[in-house]
Symmetry: C2
Subunit: 283 residues, 2 copies
């Protein structure tokens, strides 16, 4: 498949305003990764990054816990300026992608403001407080997405969901990376309509998430911590559920829920595996 | 005099919001200079500066004409974050000065937003468009300070003007650096009240400004380009007018306006001269 044939609909629920800057962590992570500019050593941010501004900000007594590299800051300055001029997140993302040579189309699910927030054992927290400051090491009793009721999917997102030959729900965290997308008006209905073309990749393998708090959150919010629990979270949306070979024994339970099942290697640590998973999704 | 006995009341008319950041060029320039951190090579900004963020912003196609160094950016990030948390410019300035070891007290004249703007031969321009982008190389037909009618001087500024043993109007550009201060409600009245303690240093020497467009602007707005023209601009406010030895022949004209005159070296290029001027102002 040509990269230009791929559209990624991206979560904006963990976007934040910090130091006056609008920061879109999910859009940027995907953009940098697809551009081949991601920092593989850190696991986030840009390659060849430097930290001059953060070091100085720390010396001034500023909040430097959310690490913004010097290169990365340019993205946030660019976006913040364009938004202040009246541009939408959608158009700014397109501009940045053009500059960085990203051929795939990246679409924020909405141009409205969303804010995923957590009810925790220590009280309410914003996404970044939960995820970055506390390293998601707190018990969560509820997740809300402020602004989701009023937010509507952009025309480009609606068109993409209507016209895609296949819709793939990536093995991201269902509760904090995918659900804020599903909560935006228009998205869930369209996925239900197109259910037979919706392929989901289970983020839970052998009862665990590869990284992040998906397993813990599923359990805390009452779901089985398994490929089945994740499927139940997406109830009514999935036509074909792709599970790892480690979970092959659960294939019949998936079928019993009226969902097609595909068993393959879903761990994308090696390039070959990623290629095989992509081929399975496209087959 | 101890630095801690000095209060500087600073213009905020050329403050701007760029890339989402609140930037206060006059406050920062004075703060960096008094802290001994100013970049003497460039004539503005911080010593040991680097330009990683601006270089990346330029590569992204962003507006990089207003050069913000990496170290300098930390100041703007700090200020923008604190303002978003509800802090005033006054308190943020105090925090930054403490961190940078500035013993003198720096006070923005107001916590309200001011914006100096120019009517020019090419239409209206913001301060930074006029000063930085066009290098003040355009004809000006009028200067306005948006927000000045509603802005009030802060309590700290009013107290300082009431209690200072001596008030000095520095040889900055009268029209664009001092006038926006004078236009803030409360300031002009207080200076008139305290006129006998108000010392002004002429920014015009032998018919020219040492740097910047003060001479050109005085002429364009109908004043004589001389120490007399600058004094006339401050009509009613000055008790003692300090002029350079080069203008000694005009001392009587100053006196004829009912203003005391002091003739000394006003060019502060050498440290000794600066010291002599300070001594004259304090004598």
């Amino acid at each position: 498949m040509e990269p230009s044939e791929i559209t990624a609909i991206v979560n904006v629920g963990d976007d934040l305003t910090l130091h006056g800057l609008t920061i879109c962590p999910d859009l940027d992570t995907i953009m940098y990764t697809v551009a081949g500019l991601n920092n593989t050593e850190l696991g986030w941010g840009l390659e060849g990054e430097s930290w001059r501004v953060m070091d100085e900000l720390g010396a001034l007594g500023g909040d430097a816990w959310f690490r913004l590299g010097d290169r990365d800051l340019a993205t946030h300055l660019y976006r913040s300026q364009r938004l202040s001029e009246g541009a939408t997140k959608t158009s700014v993302t397109q501009e940045l992608c053009e500059r960085l040579g990203v051929k795939a189309r990246l679409l924020p699910v909405t141009d409205a403001e969303l804010a995923t927030c957590f009810e925790t054992e220590f009280g309410p927290m914003s996404f970044q407080e939960y995820f970055v400051r506390h390293h998601h090491d707190v018990a969560v009793t509820g997740i809300d997405v402020a602004g989701a009721d009023e937010a509507v999917a952009t025309p480009a997102v609606i068109e993409a969901l209507l016209e895609a030959s296949r819709i793939v729900i990536a093995p991201s965290n269902p509760l904090i990376s995918i659900d804020p997308i599903l909560r935006v008006r228009g998205v869930r209905d369209l996925l239900e309509q197109r259910r037979s073309d919706v392929f989901g990749v289970s983020p839970i393998i052998d009862g665990r998430a590869l990284k992040g708090p998906a397993d813990r959150l599923l359990s805390e919010l009452g779901y089985e911590v398994s490929c089945l629990g994740a499927l139940d979270f997406y109830k009514g949306l999935i036509g074909t559920w792709i599970i790892d070979e480690a979970d092959a024994v659960r294939a019949d339970e998936v079928r019993n829920r009226g969902v097609n099942v595909l068993v393959t290697t879903t761990i994308m640590a090696q390039h070959d595996n990623a290629r095989r998973l992509s081929a399975a999704v496209l087959s």
